[in-house]
């Protein structure tokens, strides 16, 4: 199991004065509401187990109150857990002493915040340099590195402005540059793009994906927006009331929702954009289809099929045919959610 960069094991967080003693009650099935009513403790996270692979974007998704922001703050221990372990590169973050955790925050994991968390008294360049200042990098070197990342996120020329003089999207670019400048392997992004308007958000997602193509960081990305999760996530975990409900690739989440809650979540998604040919591919038949790469979303596949007048695709992996998908398969996949979980697929209240 150690091929994970970050491994979260049996993590509980309960807010209240007697939190340690509440763990057993929750483990034995006491719900969030009962815990609040009977014991005046707030359930943050219950028995969360997640493995986070290196060099990928791991999205943790949930509605407000689901504990996602609490969870991400455990990874660099801005919040102390009630019980549990978080293993990063073989070391339990939750058992580190003050110096070690400080070092881990300086060199191991950097963070991007929902409301940017920029320092209003520092210029853009000084903000981007903050992590380097803390690491003890000399100013001239720090300025060079901060400038490099500001250039990369498209903020050349704004170095001497103050954050208050920038738009939200630009401020978050500063936040991103600040996090990247520390060269940490792990990037924690807490609803990093949620405060931005849709166009800017799409922009920032593109910037992040671009950078990730090259940097291969381990990114933990928190969001409440499923479209965002599906667009950028290599892997998605869904939280509800502090509990992990489902974890898997975007295709799996959309095609095989674990329960009605997830199904309801995913029902308005543009499935044609999420599902790829690979997910629908079945045995190679005798008929020749349009050869297309398996990673292509079916939205694009359908477009190409219509243009070239095919109604069958031969799914390719490199030069090899690995299966086929008919137009009919695609239409079916787009129109009808399949639930493997309990209950019906149609309504969830």
């Amino acid at each position: 199991m150690s091929d994970y960069k970050i491994e979260i094991k049996n993590l509980y967080k309960i807010f209240g004065p007697d939190d340690k003693n509440m763990v057993e009650l929750v483990a034995n099935g006491l719900g969030k509401q009962e815990l609040l009513d009977q014991y005046q403790h707030v359930l943050g996270l219950q028995d969360v187990n997640i493995g986070i692979s290196a060099s990928s974007i791991n999205v943790i998704m949930g509605l407000s109150g689901s504990g996602k922001s609490t969870l991400i703050r455990h990874i660099n221990r801005l919040i102390e857990p009630t019980v549990g372990e978080i293993i990063v590169d073989g070391e339990n973050v939750l058992a580190m002493d003050q110096d070690k955790i400080q070092d881990f925050r300086r060199f191991g994991a950097s963070m991007v915040f929902q409301n940017f968390g920029l320092m209003p008294h520092r210029t853009v360049l000084e903000n981007a340099m903050y992590g380097l200042n803390i690491q003890g990098v000399v100013t001239s070197e720090g300025e060079k590195r901060a400038q490099h990342w500001l250039d990369r996120v498209g903020l050349s020329g704004f170095e001497d402005r103050f954050p208050a003089q920038l738009s939200g999207g630009m401020q978050q670019r500063v936040g991103l540059a600040r996090a990247l400048a520390t060269d940490a392997d792990i990037l924690l992004m807490d609803e990093a793009f949620s405060a931005l308007d849709p166009l800017i958000r799409a922009d920032m997602q593109a910037i992040l994906l671009d950078l990730q193509d090259e940097l291969h960081k381990t990114i933990v990305f928190i969001t409440h927006d499923l479209d965002e999760a599906l667009r950028i996530g290599d892997d998605i975990a869904i939280l509800r009331d502090g509990e992990l409900i489902q974890k898997g690739t975007p295709q799996k989440i959309v095609l095989k929702p674990a329960n009605d809650y997830v199904a309801d979540f995913t029902k308005d998604v543009n499935r044609a954009r999420v599902l790829t040919l690979n997910t629908l591919s079945h045995d190679v038949g005798s008929k020749e289809g349009l050869p297309l790469d398996g990673d292509l979303p079916i939205e694009q596949a359908m477009q190409q099929m219509v243009e070239s007048d095919y109604n069958l695709v031969t799914v390719m992996k490199g030069k090899k045919a690995i299966g086929q998908v008919s137009l009919r398969d695609m239409v079916e996949a787009i129109s009808k959610p399949k639930s493997t979980g309990s209950g019906s697929t149609t309504t969830y209240r």
């Binding site: 409301n115 320092m119 803390i134």
Partner: protein, 296 residues
């Protein structure tokens, strides 16, 4: 029912003995410790005396140039700077130069002491709710207790002169800087502190790189208030032998010298306005990053 007619007070003789006891034990204390306490404050005394001597020995044109220069550095406003120079010229012309220098020396030293003690206390208070709960009532007492009540033990211990005057001024003038340092640090945005923590700042980095710079406008308002309150104490300090603009004011009250009182009183006001405007403008300049939009 005599119980309800008359308040069950202490017996007159007991009360007198109690007061006498306190008085005599304090006298005892001041007799045995007075000298060492005085010696403790000696450095302060020399600092004040020498600073005053320096101001008095410096030729007046240089003082005026320095005043105008500092005003300009603080406020970046030549009107204010010229106004300060003119005020000092008028003060000197009306024969109040030496007293004004004494008062400026006292206020400067008092403000310096208040800042040196007050900011660390304020920082400590902002870290701990318990400490805040303990210090706040002390600050309340310092600001509201009639000055003469604590002047008396100070005079008994240290005699009449500059140091007790300085202490009296500091006791009265220190609370604002402590309060506003505490407040300013507590008002720093929690999210920014979280960001500072997330990048691994240690206590000192967090304090000096983030908290203090962001609390600076409030701290500066505290400095401004401290200066104003120190100036308000000038006349009272003169009652225990502090030289300066307070002395003629006190004389004029005792002898009904209207013009003398007015002139010296107005000189204090002029000092107050100069200090206030310059420090306020400086405080505002510290907040330039808060302005959005155009470049500064």
């Amino acid at each position: 029912m005599s119980f309800f007619d008359k308040f069950p007070a202490m017996e007159r003789a007991d009360l007198r003995d109690l007061k006498k006891g306190i008085d005599s034990s304090f006298k005892e204390f001041s007799r045995s410790w007075g000298e060492s306490i005085e010696a403790f404050f000696d450095p302060l005394f020399y600092f004040l005396v020498n600073f005053e001597k320096l101001l008095l020995a410096t030729p007046w044109p240089i003082i005026i140039a320095v005043v105008a220069g500092l005003s300009y550095l603080g406020s970046r406003s030549w009107q204010l700077s010229v106004g300060a120079a003119i005020s000092f010229l008028v003060i000197g012309y009306l024969g109040m130069w030496n007293n004004t220098m004494s008062t400026v020396a006292l206020i400067s030293v008092a403000t310096f002491i208040c800042i040196a003690l007050g900011i660390p206390i304020g920082i400590a208070m902002s870290k701990s709710d318990r400490l805040q709960a303990m210090i706040t009532p002390v600050l309340d007492i310092m600001q509201t207790i009639p000055i003469f009540v604590y002047l008396l033990p100070v005079v008994m211990l240290l005699g009449i002169g500059k140091v007790p005057g300085l202490i009296a001024v500091c006791v009265y003038a220190m609370p604002p800087i402590v309060r506003l340092t505490n407040l300013g640090l507590r008002l720093v945005d929690k999210e920014i502190l979280e960001a500072a923590d997330a990048f691994g700042s240690n206590y000192r980095q967090r304090l000096f790189k983030v908290q203090l710079p962001l609390a600076l406008p409030n701290i500066f308002a505290g400095v401004n208030q401290t200066i104003m309150m120190a100036l308000a104490m000038v006349v009272i300090a003169s009652m225990i032998g502090v030289k300066g603009l307070g002395v003629p004011v006190l004389q004029s009250i005792q002898n009904q010298y209207l013009a003398l009182g007015m002139m010296n009183g107005l000189a204090i006001v002029a000092l107050a306005i100069i200090f206030d405007r310059v420090s306020q403008k400086y405080g505002k300049r510290l907040q330039r990053h808060r302005e959005g939009g155009s470049d500064v």
